[in-house]
Amino acid sequence: MSQTTTRPAARKSTPSASSRFDSALGWSPRFGTNMALRIILCILVFCIFALPFMAIISGAFDRNSSPTDISLLPKSFTLQNFEAAQQQGLWGYLLNSLVVAGGGLLLQMTVSVFAAYSLSRKKFRGQAFAMLLVLMTMMLPEEVIAIPLSLVLGDLPLLGVSLRGSVLAVILPVGIWGFSIFIMSEFMKEIPAEIEEAARLDGVGEFRMLFTIILPLCKPALGVIGIFGFMMVWDQYLLPLIAANDPSDYTLTVALSVLRNDTTVGPGVLLAGAVMAMIPSLLVYLFLQRSMIRGITAGATKG
């Protein structure tokens, strides 16, 4: 989390005695009761927010994991749960999830970049209306339109094709996301028009303009829509549920509840599945943490 780096440099010259005024609560930088209290509270907070994850991971590697006997380190280490998970088809669910996340994110980012380029770098009639429609799609999340959406997925109007049971039934609907278009076009607006005009004089076409001139300047925004898009797709629950023909089409997150309701499957396998569903979002978060924080604070300070 990077907002700590934005303090004005001038403060460095103030004497260190005043650093008591660095935080709203006036935490003291010296050892003492104040410091001890803070450390205790920090440990408590860490236990509440992070230890459940450790317990889950430990349970996934434990030979006889059970909710009544949970520990922070596996008592008898084993990969058995993951082997059993394989028999339950968990790798297939993981594959579904990865395909949906990869394809959906790629489509979403491409669509967003294209749309944002038009909406922010051009001037045309009906632009305000187009932007309004983009903002409206944000008010129509999958949950609200779930029922008609499932009907549409089963029989695409005009085309008469059914997407149900194919990964496309999840990938295509997540391809359009107002937030992503909005962030991208807000960012592209900040790029000075002179850059574009100079290139246009050199006879650069629209596609090259977008990909070689505008897009390289948008890397921070790409990071933001990348991580938010990934989390949005990975977190989809209702959509894969209604888009599936039979349970083998489920993504990993949806499959977890199927596994839970199957009495022949022990809790160890369920935990193995939960760990597998956690790893990708964990990796993406660790790599794109800065973009994540930037996106949250940008979303919060606008408006």
Partner: protein
């Protein structure tokens, strides 16, 4: 308070740059017009098929008695009357509001406390903040599974063991009709608070340090400092956090569906889970669509309302 990345996405953020920033650009020629529309085509097609057609289809279906093989019958507003007079929908409405208010306020307060505790530049604090943010990036379905285990209702379940240490009776958590809704709220707070923490931390860095110093010189207590310097400076971010979370909480589905599925005995049924079971399990598509349209209308009104309110405030 969901963990979905839709968080900052809600349309409260006005497109204020849309009209002002473009004055420098020239009107475009015919070839460029073609390019403009080509770039917009993918978004337009996907938006039409997966947002707007479903929306209009939903509005249409809400006026019909939908029967798969017998043909639909137009019934006017009967479906809406059905929803509004259905006791279970009204219960669900109550649960939705209780859950929404508890989660929103809880996550705000906890997020605020976290931000105050973890404000600072030390590397150890940064590591701690990273760890604490994990619930936000984890998919809700996984969060649900984690808490189902923590909430295990026997006396030797993880949380009940901890309750035992401090001498409390074991709780039923998700299995008890009077504890289930609160248990879901706790999960929402747990997974939403770190997100608010980041927003509030960003607000805290914006507070002028010299104000703290002069308050210190004037002998103000920590509480006074918090009350008269920090809180006023954070007001804008707090207002945004509150409105976004409140609107989002209306459509919370995944956490309830994963944790309790609406049970036990309907004690945690919210608007969305009721809609889901009507539409997908009992195939009462007309009534479920009416419920969806009502949800959409309320969301729309709240969004536009808060937006107008924010505008008027800004103009003053």
């Amino acid at each position: 308070m969901t963990v979905t990345p839709t968080k900052p996405a809600d349309p409260l953020v006005p497109a204020k740059g849309a009209k002002t920033a473009r004055s420098g650009r020239k009107r475009v020629n015919g070839k460029q017009v073609l390019a403009i529309w080509l770039f917009l085509v993918p978004a337009a097609v996907l938006g039409l098929y997966f947002k707007f057609i479903p929306m209009f289809e939903g509005i249409r279906l809400s006026l019909f008695k939908v029967q798969p093989f017998l043909g639909d019958v137009f019934v006017g507003f009967d479906n809406y009357i059905n929803v509004l007079t259905d006791a279970r929908f009204m219960d669900a409405l109550g649960h939705t509001v209780v859950l929404g208010v508890t989660q929103t306020l809880g996550a705000l307060v906890v997020g605020f406390v976290l931000a105050l505790l973890l404000e600072g530049q030390a590397r150890s604090l940064w590591v701690l903040r990273t760890a604490i943010f994990l619930p936000v990036v984890t998919a809700l379905a996984v969060v649900g599974e984690i808490w189902r285990i923590l909430y295990f209702p026997t006396a030797d379940g993880p949380l009940n063991t901890i309750l035992g240490w401090v001498g409390l009776e074991p709780l039923q958590f998700l299995n008890g009709t009077d504890t289930a809704l609160w248990s879901i709220a706790v999960v929402g707070i747990w997974s939403g608070a770190p997100y608010n923490m980041v927003i509030i931390l960003a607000g805290l860095t914006g507070v002028d340090r010299t104000l703290y110093e002069s308050a210190g010189v004037d002998g103000a207590t920590v509480w006074q400092r918090l009350r008269y310097i920090t809180l006023p400076a954070l007001r804008p971010s707090i207002v945004i956090v509150l409105t976004l979370a409140a609107i989002r909480s209306l459509r919370s589905f995944t956490e309830v569906y994963v944790l309790t599925g609406g049970g036990p005995a309907g004690s945690t049924e919210v608007w969305m889970t009721r809609m889901y079971s009507l539409g997908f399990q009992r195939n009462d598509i007309g009534v479920a669509s009416a419920a969806a349209v009502l949800l959409l209308v309320v969301t729309l009104l709240l969004t536009v309302g808060t937006q107008l309110l924010a505008r008027r405030k800004a103009e003053r």
